[in-house]
Amino acid sequence: MFAPAPFLLKDASVSQVMTQVCLALLPGIAAYAWLIGPAVLVQIVIASLTALLAEAAMLKVRGKPQAMFLSDGSAVVTAWLIALAFPPLAPWWLVATGTVFAIVVAKHLYGGLGQNPFNPAMIGFAVCIVSFPALMSQWPSVGLQLSLVEQIDVILGLAPRVDALTGATPLDALKTALKLGDGSIDVAHLLANQDIYGNFAGRGWEWVAAGYLLGGLWMWQRKLITWHVPAAFIGAMVLVSGGLWLVNPGQFANPLFHLFSGGAMLGAFFIATDPVSGCTTPRGKLIFGAGAGLLTYIIRVFGGYPDGVAFAVLLMNLCAPLIDLLTQPPIFGMKDKT
């Protein structure tokens, strides 16, 4: 009988962890489906099914036990993050492509669960935005009134993909207006007047971001994540956006707008906190979060893409092993030395 101590185990499992991450996403998803449109739910279903199929296929190819790994929930979390990161009316095959790439290449070709150096969902997103930039930029226009069936038709390609469906995201609108403007346009004026802006960020989107924040705080309270990454991510973003906003409020949006626009909240709580591809030491997590927050801001304000979370996280994934190596905390009884 092989049964080494401890004989008692805490009631914990990988599937419990993943299930709780999915639960934490629910407030954001609810706000998304309610305020932006139920298409996101369709995308979640498409991504989840694709992810599970790809996972099952790869497990079979690699000769790994199917039931144990399919039920661990990690593929579903990746799928949900992809569905939430992609435009909700993106064609089904785009979401499927991103998901397959995430599961097959970013996850299993690197050794499967726990072995991937990069965040699989963000790899899927990055591959698609580089390969299909136009489709990946088609966000639903504000006040778009389409029934669920009509949205499904668009996603499945049964209805024509007309221009009226899509509009600029708040981040896009701001960037374009500032670029095209003659310098007389001022951010405060833009935010106050255009109908795509809500109370403090994009109309509707601000509450989706608030939903992610809520779910993230719940994960922190449940000790699924520590405070380090989100706090550093948000802190870095507030610092850099706040600094530039104070210097030149006419050209730079305020920190609140940045935090509640695009993927900032999703990134801070759900993507940069991925333990497999991120840092693990407390100081390392602070550096990782701050780096991801800073890069997100730089890419979205000064770079070529409307948002920067995916590339910021991937760039920080690259640095994670080194950061961990250099930030090993002192152990019990050795705090005086070095």
Partner: protein, 567 residues
């Protein structure tokens, strides 16, 4: 007691499961049919058996003599007959055998003459020696010989004496019951330690889930008018680890590379203090201890048990359920399944848990590590278990040491919290044993190399010395011959006197060396082979001596001085 307590990082709160066994008073376990007393029951040298099969022994009689300073004597737990001194399977996860004294009790349980000692009239050395002879060892589970911890450090003043009554492992309640029922003797034992170590403060740490024990200890401390502080510490596994308790009570952190005395603190278990007092004040060596019987049994309870009692026989007292399929010695966090139900209770046995799958369900399959860091959060030594696991799995043992694997106390917190159900502690034990094995191999190889090099060097040196000696001897002989020649030739041959000097001394030395080697070889041959001149009668020997004398008289004198033939 108002006192500023410190915290240690990490720790877990498994269900305590102590209520089952702590509601009944301590009972005395009956004499078993046979006692198997292992000789090696403490850290350090294995005691040498001083009895043999057939001897009758009395309770408390020495049966194993301490070997070396860090070693503790072993005694007969009851009166009876030694049936055998033989190898017997041990309560150790390895399942290996070790030398045991097997005693058949005579039922009288008759003590040796016990002499109480007034330890205040003895020197500290004498007290320590008495504890060594009485087999007093750390009963918290580490079984380090207590006398070895009772010498204060020379350079560091002893600030605190920490007494460990935390008993943080689930299921175990033997220290709890000991403190409830025998607090006075525990406190008297602590006073002995205090007198030997002369600390500034004595702190008795008890987890706050044992209010009765803490109250009893406080009452005893007050009754004996001792300035000891009884401190209730938060219940958090492993608060009863010596290093964690020292941290909580004093704020000091003892790393693996140091001894606690280097930081001016020493720690003993309450049961150790109790046995020290019994040994000094009653002359009773350690022949029994309190054992919690619990788990899958009808009547969990604490028993006073003779060392050497077979575990299966003992467990019957608690009426184990029929589906019991094993015995865990120790607690569920750090204990182990004994390899054989018949193994004896030893000084380290604080608890026996009847095992079954309902109590401790089989472990779910191991998943890959997701680096969630739960283990690092739980580690009381602030290690990074998932990193050590990674390197241990890859057999990159150097890296595990860089991540301080030897600071791991194997408390099991990391395995307990791991959502991937990875038996992390197992990996660390494996890595440690591999590192030790490699170290041993390396030391053995280094030793052999050093011995070989030393031998080579010695051979070279001896050769050189011999050559020098031979050269000198040859020169001396040549000179003597020359002198003789000169004497016989007289004044007539003045040139001849100088001639032998011209003899090449190197050649002479070589020749002499060859002769010497031949003589040595002959001597060796003679020494190795039996001679027919051995075992002769007196008359024959006398005759031979006469012949030898005659031969010597006719033979020419040895060409070399006698010392030259001996290297």
């Amino acid at each position: 007691m108002l006192m500023n307590l410190f915290k240690f990082k990490g720790g877990v709160k498994p269900p305590s499961n102590k209520a089952q066994s702590n509601h009944l008073p301590i009972a005395l376990a009956p004499l078993p049919s046979r006692l198997v007393v292992p000789l090696h029951q403490s850290i350090g040298g294995t005691p040498r058996p001083v009895v043999s099969a057939g001897d009758t022994v009395l309770k408390g009689q020495l049966i194993g003599e301490a070997d070396g300073w860090i070693s503790a004597a072993v005694h007969a737990p009851t009166s009876g007959t030694v049936v055998a001194v033989a190898m017997h399977v041990q309560p150790h996860p390895s399942g290996l055998d070790a030398l045991c004294v097997v005693i058949e009790p005579d039922g009288r349980d008759e003590w040796i003459a016990r002499a109480p000692l007034d330890y205040r009239s003895l020197t500290p050395e004498e007290v320590r020696e008495h504890l060594r002879q009485a087999g007093v060892v750390g009963l918290g589970g580490a079984v380090f010989p207590t006398h070895g911890k009772l010498t204060p450090a020379k350079t560091v003043p002893m600030d605190e004496l920490v007494i460990n009554g935390a008993e943080c492992e689930p299921f175990i309640t033997c220290d709890d019951l000991l403190m409830r029922e025998r607090a006075e003797e525990v406190v008297r034992g602590i006073a002995i330690f205090r007198d030997l170590l002369q600390p500034k403060k004595v702190l008795i740490g008890i987890e706050d889930n044992k209010p009765e024990a803490a109250a009893a200890m406080r009452a005893a401390v007050d009754a004996l008018n001792e300035p000891f502080s009884v401190v209730q510490v938060p219940t958090l596994y492993p608060a009863g680890g010596a290093k964690q308790l020292i941290r909580v009570l004093t704020g000091k952190e003892v790393p693996a590379s140091k001894r606690s005395t280097d930081l001016g603190v020493q720690c003993f278990n309450v049961a150790t203090a109790y046995t020290a007092w019994r040994a000094i004040a009653h002359g009773e060596p350690v022949v029994s201890r309190l054992v919690t019987l619990t788990g899958n049994v009808h009547e969990p309870r604490n028993y006073e048990v003779l060392i050497g009692t077979p575990m299966d026989e003992l467990l019957q007292l608690a009426h184990p359920h029929p589906d019991t399929d094993g015995i865990v010695m120790g607690g569920p966090m750090m204990g182990f399944l004994v390899p054989d139900m018949h193994v004896p209770v030893v000084k380290a046995t604080n608890c026996l848990i009847a095992h079954d799958d309902r109590l401790f369900p089989p472990k779910p399959p191991e998943m890959p590590c997701i680096r969630c860091g739960a283990c690092a959060e739980a580690c009381p030594h602030e290690l990074q278990p998932f990193e050590m696991y990674w390197f241990a799995r890859a057999k990159n043992f150097g890296k595990t040491q860089e991540y301080h694997i030897f600071d791991c106390i194997e408390c099991g917190c990391c395995s307990y919290v791991c959502p991937s159900r990875i038996p992390l502690v197992q990996y660390f034990r494996f890595a440690k044993s591999e590192i030790w094995a490699r170290e041993r191999e390396k030391n053995a190889a280094d030793g052999a190399k050093a011995r070989f090099e030393f031998k080579q060097e010695r051979d070279e040196r001896e050769k050189a010395e011999k050559a020098e000696k031979l050269a000198k001897a040859a020169a001396a002989q040549a000179a003597r011959k020359a002198a003789e020649a000169a004497a016989t030739a007289g004044e007539a041959a003045p040139v001849a006197a100088a001639a032998p000097v011209a003899v090449d001394p190197e050649k002479e030395a070589k020749k002499a060396a060859i002769e010497a080697a031949m003589a040595r070889a002959k001597a060796q041959r003679e020494a190795a082979q039996p001679k027919n001149t051995e075992a002769v009668t007196f008359e024959q020997a006398h005759e031979m001596a006469e012949i030898d004398a005659r031969r010597e008289a006719v033979a020419p004198a040895s060409p070399l001085p006698p010392d030259a033939t001996l290297p």
